[in-house]
């Protein structure tokens, strides 16, 4: 298998609108996902995540650029790409006319397995996903969490090179979501290449080897969580609100050992620090010496949220 599971170069999808302005859902997106990685495409709703996954899974035709799955071009050879991918779409697309078992069996057979191979593989997966007792159930009778498990099991019946999950946990209750995370983690351990999209920061932080931050159809940055945090600096931001002017305190803070930089505006003092505990202690002590009563303090530790804030200048909206 090639080293790169997914490669896109300047990928674009523009929707022509009649009368109004054309809308670029994906806009010059260049991305590489290595074989064996669990990669998260993180962005707010409407950022272009689903369109990107749509192109990579041959369901959306790109209007510019190229995209390859394990070396196969999605536009030139969609059939070969379909053979190599497993997809969990945002909606429940289980075959409602078939049972749970048949859903898995037919997916394997579409991809070229014999009936026996497909049934054997389906049996294994039902066991692993704790679905064996539901094998004969019609999929309409399943709860949201169970249906999601069947969707994932079905997506890997034919051992795809790359598994795509488009917002796999949106709309699930917290417990079901955590269960899904366990499934994804164990798949990653076994070397399955996975690209998932999510608008939950914690999901990307908790699960993924690398994260790509996407907004307005553009990839803003990619890297491991540590790399992304390092890029914005591993500094905590402390924001204090006092009941008086903070000019004198800010002046002192500039020279304090634990503080990297300080800004102030009226009663608000903002400190950037690599040692938040020491900086907090220093501030409280100095403010008390200056008889400046504290009203509020906020601590923003380095996180994907601060990464997003520094990349876009906007608060992360889910």
């Amino acid at each position: 298998m090639p080293d790169l599971a997914i490669q896109t170069i300047e990928l674009g999808k523009t929707y022509r609108s009649h009368g109004g302005e054309d809308r670029a859902a994906v806009n010059g997106l260049t991305l590489e996902v290595r074989t064996g990685e669990l990669f998260a495409l993180l962005g707010p709703n409407g950022a272009g995540k689903s369109t990107t996954v749509g192109i990579l899974t041959t369901r959306v035709r790109p209007t510019s650029g190229t995209a390859k799955i394990t070396g196969c071009d999605v536009a030139a050879d969609p059939v070969a790409v379909k053979q190599r991918i497993g997809v969990v779409t945002q909606h429940n697309t289980l075959d409602r006319q078939l049972t749970v078992m048949e859903n898995l069996e037919f997916r394997g057979r579409y991809a070229g397995m014999t009936t026996r191979q497909a049934r054997k593989r389906a049996d294994e997966l039902l066991e692993v996903f704790s679905l064996t007792d539901r094998a004969g159930a019609l999929v309409q009778t399943l709860s949201g969490g169970l249906a999601q498990r069947v969707l994932i099991a079905r997506a890997i019946v034919h051992r795809p090179d790359v598994l795509f999950l488009d917002e796999p946990t949106s709309g699930l209750d917290p417990q079901t979501r955590v269960n899904l995370w366990d499934i994804l983690r164990s798949m990653r351990t076994e070397g399955q290449t996975i690209l998932l999209t999510t608008h939950y920061l914690e999901e990307a932080e908790n699960l993924c080897d690398r994260i790509g931050v996407i907004d307005h159809g553009k990839l803003l940055t990619t890297g491991t969580l540590a790399e992304l945090k390092a890029a914005v600096g591993d500094e905590t931001v402390l924001t204090f609100t006092f009941s008086g002017d903070t000019e004198e305190l800010a002046g002192k803070a500039q020279h304090a050992e634990a503080v990297t930089s300080a800004e102030h505006e009226g009663a608000v003092l903002r400190l950037h620090t690599a040692e938040p505990e020491r900086a907090l202690e220093w501030t409280l002590q100095t403010a008390s010496e200056l008889r400046l009563p504290l009203q509020d303090v906020q601590i923003l530790r380095p996180s994907l949220e601060s990464v997003f804030l520094s990349l876009t200048g906007r608060e992360y909206r889910e």
């Binding site: 749509g54 899974t57 041959t58 369901r59 959306v60 035709r61 969609p78 059939v79 070969a80 379909k82 053979q83 991918i85 997809v87 779409t89 909606h91 697309t93 289980l94 075959d95 409602r96 006319q97 078939l98 048949e102 037919f106 394997g108 057979r109 579409y110 991809a111 070229g112 397995m113 191979q117 054997k120 593989r121 294994e124 997966l125 692993v128 996903f129 704790s130 890997i156 034919h158 051992r159 269960n179 366990d182 499934i183 164990s186 798949m187 076994e190 070397g191 399955q192």
Partner: protein
């Protein structure tokens, strides 16, 4: 949760051909259809069977007592009404069940359930998926036509038996196959353009006029006494199916020239399959 076993080497990674995927998709559709076999049969048989019961059995019997029935051997050369009905009712069955088998599930998959996204991911070209759906519908339409056969053949009053000629069996087989594919492709096209919420309206505005004006209950040649209608009904695909079945089964009744019929059916298939497949690809690939 132990392992997901994706690294299990017991199964060789499949790399099936497109033909394999096509056949499997067809197998899936037929398995679903097989589950519905009882209600499918009832749907197929009920209307035509009752129709021949009333028009080929009840009314002629009433006529033989009252003496004024228009259905008792009223056609030229003593041809019974049931002889006219047999090809027409088989054609209607093929059309109606072709529509039911193709249009309704397609509408569901395209809109409400979006299941089509799953089928589209099977490793065949998207146009081939639409051809597969047409083939699956055609098989069911053909089956409906065959199911109706014994009923329209056997239900009739004494002396009202249909006079059928099976010597041109090769033409009959050809026409049945062409008619099934044509109606299924036509149904696919309808499924693409019609709003699913108006599914029941289809029957009122499409199926009813098509069957009433589809040369089901009268041969096309007899419409010569209403010239304008004779030309208008030529827009109705069912006319060609009914007439082609007449050409195959009841050659003594005057029918549209057989080569014209076959040409229209083949041309109709080429046109509807092409348009339906294109529309399908446009609809499911963004």
């Amino acid at each position: 949760m132990t392992t997901v076993a994706i690294a299990d080497e017991a199964v060789v990674r499949p790399r099936g051909g497109k033909a394999h995927a096509f056949v499997t998709l067809l197998a899936r559709d037929l398995r679903v259809a097989r589950r519905d076999l009882v209600s499918f049969s009832i749907r197929s048989i009920m209307q035509p069977a009752l129709f021949v019961f009333v028009f080929a059995y009840v009314l002629p019997r009433l006529g033989s007592h009252g003496g004024a029935s228009p259905f008792a051997a009223s056609h030229p050369g003593g041809i019974s009404f049931s002889t006219i009905l047999v090809p027409g009712l088989i054609a209607t069955s093929i059309l109606v069940q072709g529509l039911m088998a193709t249009t309704a599930p397609l509408m569901m998959e395209l809109s409400y359930t979006r299941e089509i996204e799953d089928r589209v991911l099977a490793p065949i070209p998207t146009w081939a998926l639409s051809v597969e759906k047409i083939v699956a519908g055609a098989i069911q339409a053909l089956l409906a036509g065959l199911l109706v056969f014994p009923f329209v053949l056997l239900i009739h009053a004494k002396g009202q038996a249909p006079t059928l000629d099976f010597s041109r069996w090769w033409l009959l087989v050809t026409v049945l196959l062409l008619a099934s594919v044509f109606t299924s492709a036509f149904a696919m096209l309808l499924g693409m353009v019609i709003d699913p919420r108006k599914l029941s309206t289809i029957f009122a505005i499409i199926v009813v006029p098509m069957t009433m004006l589809g040369c089901v209950y009268y041969p096309w040649a007899q419409l010569s006494s209403i010239r304008w209608l004779q030309y208008v009904v030529l827009l109705n695909p069912l006319v060609y199916i009914s007439e082609a079945l007449r050409a195959a089964l009841t050659p003594e009744i005057k029918y549209i020239h057989v080569w014209i019929l076959l040409l229209v059916l083949c041309g109709g298939i080429a046109l509807t399959v092409t348009i339906a497949s294109r529309a399908f690809v446009r609809r499911v690939v963004d």
